[in-house]
Symmetry: C2
Subunit: 199 residues, 2 copies
């Protein structure tokens, strides 16, 4: 019995979060216990609210509280002729941070991985193809991660989309191979977008 019971429970819950080990969980718990009661309540509320009010946009499948999301809504001022395809919602955040892309997004929610049994049906691939049916989209930028799974996913999508008469491009390999898109700096990401090539 190292902690008072409410602290032990909080430490347990915090340790379920990714990258939070016992030491960090304890440090956070001891901090939370000393927070103002308002701040603790705000933190707790924001967790419940984020979990309950966040859904996937029915168009691009990014996280959103409004459907369609702010980027997909007709009045958003985005270029509706270009769709950037990414693996995860965090990748949309990373791309938006560059301010270099003005089009729409499509979040696959993963990448093809035969090793882990992730096939196209586990990703939002059908939904992407459906978006190309309107004829509004002239280009699809494949911005999956520059690793084996991401490259394979890009190749697969390119083969699928090209026959539809839509231009398919891949982010340039200014991206370090083996890296993680999320952790790239804005300049590198922007350069990669600039140098994209027909595949």
């Amino acid at each position: 019995m190292e902690f008072a019971r409410p602290i032990a429970r909080l430490v347990d819950e915090l340790m379920r979060l990714p990258g939070i080990g016992p030491k960090t969980a304890q440090r956070l718990a001891f901090h939370i216990v000393r927070m103002g009661p308002d701040q603790a309540r705000r933190l707790a509320e924001s967790i419940v609210e984020a979990r309950e009010r966040t859904r996937l946009c029915s168009v691009c499948f990014n996280f959103t509280d409004a459907d369609p999301c702010r980027l997909c809504q007709p009045g958003s001022g985005r270029d509706r002729s270009v769709i950037c395809v990414v693996e995860e919602p965090k990748d949309v955040t990373a791309m938006e941070r560059t301010r270099a892309f003005k089009g729409l997004y499509h979040v696959l929610h993963g990448a093809l991985s035969p090793m882990e049994g992730v096939g196209p049906e586990a990703l939002k691939v059908q939904e992407l193809i459906a978006r190309l049916g309107s004829g509004e989209v002239r280009e699809v930028v494949l911005a999956t991660d520059p690793n084996v799974e991401g490259e394979a996913t890009a190749m697969y999508l390119a083969r699928l989309i090209k026959p539809l008469g839509v231009r398919v491009t891949r982010m340039a390999h200014g991206m370090p191979v083996g890296g993680d898109l999320e952790y790239l700096d804005e300049v590198t990401l922007a350069r990669a977008l600039e140098g994209r090539r027909e595949i």
Copy 2:
């Protein structure tokens, strides 16, 4: 506008926690959004509960949900003749993990720091002295941090307590077990030499 509003709010709240930067806050928020609704609610509840049900033990000033805390309660089986004085509640956790100490604790909630204007009245010093009045306590082990503030606090407490006829000891300074002699600083090595023992 990088995130959906509820996610942005959660990221903001998470970034108020110590050691949580924007990247980590985003990673945690995206994880929370994907958690089962029950797990999210449990996490939120444990935060509010920990904040509301945790108080300071009126005897040792460690965090507790019962007063006096489990260690201070008469039936705890602890040696009531020895008090280990530490700076923070997390230090009690660290000491308890050793299973080497069977006595009671006293949490100062800080260390003397003239530089930052922390004097004895800001710490639980009076409360420690009051505990020594019963005559039950035979030894006070000073386990404040081995840095300038911790040493000064130990010296201050020793001068205050010795006249009361209570034995005052300080945790030994020396080589950390599992460490590398080569990388120890001179002061630690000199102390280790000073405190050498017959084997």
